[in-house]
């Protein structure tokens, strides 16, 4: 692991840029219960351009709990590098102390106790307040949305993203890019895009048949006398990680060569002074792209849900990781003169929902969007005795609950739950409402399948997903976590080559080794195959939770990770 000093020195040495970050300081104040909105928003306005970045909101209109991961392993050149630094190592790297609001916002440490002290985070009405305050400083600040905005809640599912579109429109974004948006189907995306007052960017989205650009690749903005090119990059592996049949005529991909061409085009033909990449690549993919594609000043990263209190500098490129679920709003002030970036100041503003006042107009809009569904949202299905969370490379208690439900309700030997990174947390003792359940499951291909697979096929699935996560070349990574497994334990060596990472597969019911030739009954959900049949996952889990009344998830020790 690198030390904070190395991190900062690397950042300083990498360019002549003078900059500063304003992450520290609010810890002790909050502990003294004297933290104010003004202090959270405090910022020394710098230069002539301001970017505001939000990403991966996953339809979370209201404040949420969101526990950051304990295990987030980096491989290859990313090993031990941010964002693959968690818990106490994270605190040491950035100079934060345990028990502070920073520890609560950025790590999993003492999560339950700190959550009770510091409250929920996010809420788009609070995000609106932050955005408006920044605009009060700099009226022409650009608000850029990194995508995964329209999916992830009961109301988003019920309105096919319309609730999020309506509320985000009230925040007046200047551009967005995309990923889960396309799981409403390409026709729905196009229907919404036609109504937007801002561009829906994706330089890497092509017509699959003719290999022609399918969406606007970039938009040029004039701000503070600066020509700013904002290039969009959608999630590269939509047709692989999500159902291709929902957008059959589109092709995506990393397309590094295309990015090189678009950067050259905006620099040379459009005369851009500043090039900003609004990306849904995932952090490690962006780190590699920054090192290989010259001419990008700022990458606003997304997809992998990382939150870093300071930008990472690669060559001359600043990489921001602005968190997820509305927990943070990033502000980046830039000093651009004579066609070059001369300086910057950054702050990842934590949206403490009890400190930042909701914007009344947006709060009213959110309530109006939710009102038609109030009864369904509020129905209590049961109670959780345990912390329910999702993030982590190998498991999370939300998915343990889902896997337990799949095994019991679907009478399966083994359950599989995809390694999604969206889905907020619930504290021990809290009721599980239907809204909470949908926050962990709401999407457009929820069928809970039930099938038979041989031990050999199960091994192949685990190896395949492990390589999507741990391939040492980031361009081959898809950015999710490991598929969550119920009813079966295994060992994994993330640094082994494809086909040799997984071993010791064991049927937990009787402790027997998984037999490659034997068939096992497997239940799962979110298959990317068209025509998958089964009840919706939320119905399976609802029935399980209602039957149990109180759910309890024991610590999961079924995945043994080499070197840990």
């Amino acid at each position: 692991m690198i030390s904070r000093r190395d991190f900062l020195q690397a950042a300083a040495a990498a360019s002549a840029i003078i900059g500063g970050s304003a992450a520290g300081g609010w810890g002790r104040l909050m502990a003294a219960q004297s933290l104010t909105q003004d202090q959270l928003l405090e910022f020394e306005t710098t230069g002539n351009v301001t970017l505001i970045h939000v990403t991966d909101i996953h339809a979370q209109l209201k404040p949420i709990w969101f526990r950051e991961p304990e295990i987030n392993i980096g491989v290859g050149e990313a090993a031990g590098q941010p964002p693959h630094v968690t818990g106490a190592d994270f605190l040491r790297l950035f100079g934060f102390r345990p028990g502070t609001p920073e520890a609560y916002a950025f790590t999993y440490l003492d999560f339950v106790a700190l959550a009770r002290s510091y409250g929920r985070m996010g809420g788009l009405d609070r995000v609106a307040t932050v955005v408006n305050a920044i605009r009060a400083d700099r009226p022409d600040a650009l608000l850029l949305d990194g995508g995964d905005t329209w999916q992830g809640s009961y109301t988003a599912n019920a309105t096919r993203g319309q609730d999020m579109v309506n509320v985000m429109n009230a925040l007046r974004p200047d551009a967005m890019t995309s990923h889960w948006e396309f799981t409403y189907g390409v026709d729905r995306v196009n229907e919404i895009v036609e109504t937007l007052d801002f561009p829906f960017l994706g330089a890497n989205i092509f017509d699959a048949e003719w290999e022609e650009p399918a969406y606007e690749p970039y938009r040029i903005f004039e701000r503070g006398g600066v020509r700013i090119a904002v290039i969009g990059q959608a999630f590269p592996y939509l047709p692989v990680a999500n159902p291709r049949w929902m957008f059959p005529n589109l092709s995506f991909g990393v397309r590094e060569e295309r990015m090189r061409e678009v950067v050259a085009q905006v620099r040379e033909e459009e005369g851009a002074d500043l090039v900003v990449l609004l990306s849904h690549n995932g952090f490690d993919v962006d780190r590699k792209m920054a090192a290989r594609v010259p001419g990008i000043d700022v990458i606003l990263t997304g997809h992998t849900h990382d939150a870093l209190p300071e930008p990472l500098v690669v060559g001359k490129t600043l990489l921001l990781a602005s968190g997820s679920n509305g927990k943070f709003v990033a502000r980046l002030d830039l000093d651009v003169r004579d066609g070059a970036l001369r300086g910057w100041r950054h702050k990842l503003i934590p949206v403490f929902s009890d400190v930042i006042a909701p914007d009344p107009e947006v709060a009213a809009l959110i309530e109006a969007e939710r009102a038609p569904f109030k009864a369904q949202l509020e129905e209590v299905l049961g109670t959780t005795e345990s912390l329910l969370y999702r993030r982590g490379n190998f498991n999370g208690s939300w998915d343990d609950l889902i896997c337990n439900a799949l095994i019991e309700e679907r009478e399966a030997d083994i359950a599989l739950s995809p390694g999604f990174r969206w889905g907020p947390s619930l504290l021990p003792g809290e009721p599980i409402t239907r809204e909470d359940l949908f926050n962990a499951t709401a999407m457009t291909y929820p069928a809970a399948y039930r099938t038979e697979m041989t031990g050999e096929q199960l091994k192949a699935v685990l190896e395949d997903v492990a390589d999507n996560l741990f391939n040492p070349d980031p361009y081959y990574q898809q950015g999710g976590d490991m598929v969550r497994v119920g009813g079966m334990g295994y060992a994994i060596d993330p640094n082994a080559p494809m086909g040799r990472r997984i071993s010791s597969m064991t049927l937990l019911r009787d402790g027997s080794p998984i037999d490659p030739q034997r068939s096992y009954v497997v239940a799962g959900w979110a298959s990317v195959n068209e025509g998958t049949e089964g009840p919706a996952i939320w119905d399976v889990v609802e029935s399980f939770v209602k039957r149990k009344g109180v759910v309890r998830i024991d610590p999961n020790a079924t995945v043994r990770v080499a070197g840990r």
């Binding site: 192949a460 699935v461 081959y476």
Partner: protein, 142 residues
């Protein structure tokens, strides 16, 4: 115990395709075929690394039709091989003197493998390059 036959078939098909992927022994046997095809194309002349570009997706969106492009400044012909296919031979493009020595096509890939391009230049020299294309079932993007 009710089994959904359609799901079972789909998952089994995906599983079966996957099971064929990391077959190292198979690849070694095919490796000899590929090197033989390159030697035949080069007429036994040495083939250096580089001088030709292969563009292909890192991960195939659909293994049945993977778009690939090749280009080589000054090439008379470019041979394309899919090293892991049962029949590795994909295509050979010949370029006239006035043609731009670049070509695009779509190929079917049986699994994760290298796509290899070998260019023949006017001076009788040869160059080669490869790109790994991964074929995966996917399904778990964040």
């Amino acid at each position: 115990m009710k089994l959904n036959r359609r799901d079972a078939l789909q998952l089994a098909a995906a599983g079966a395709a996957l099971a064929a992927l990391p077959a190292g022994a198979l690849r070694a046997a095919e490796h000899a075929d590929v090197e033989a095809a390159i030697a035949a194309f080069a007429g036994g002349a040495p083939v250096k690394e580089g001088g030709v570009e292969v563009e292909a997706p890192e991960i195939a969106e659909n293994g049945n039709t993977v778009p690939i492009s090749v280009a080589a400044e000054g090439a008379e012909a470019i041979l394309i091989l899919a090293a892991g296919n049962p029949n590795p031979d994909v295509a050979t493009f010949h370029f006239g003197k006035l043609a731009v020595p670049a070509a695009s096509t779509r190929i079917r890939l049986a699994g994760t493998q290298d796509v290899i391009a070998v260019a023949k230049f006017a001076d009788g020299s040869f160059g080669r390059a490869a790109r790994t294309v991964k074929v995966t079932i996917g399904g778990c993007g964040g």
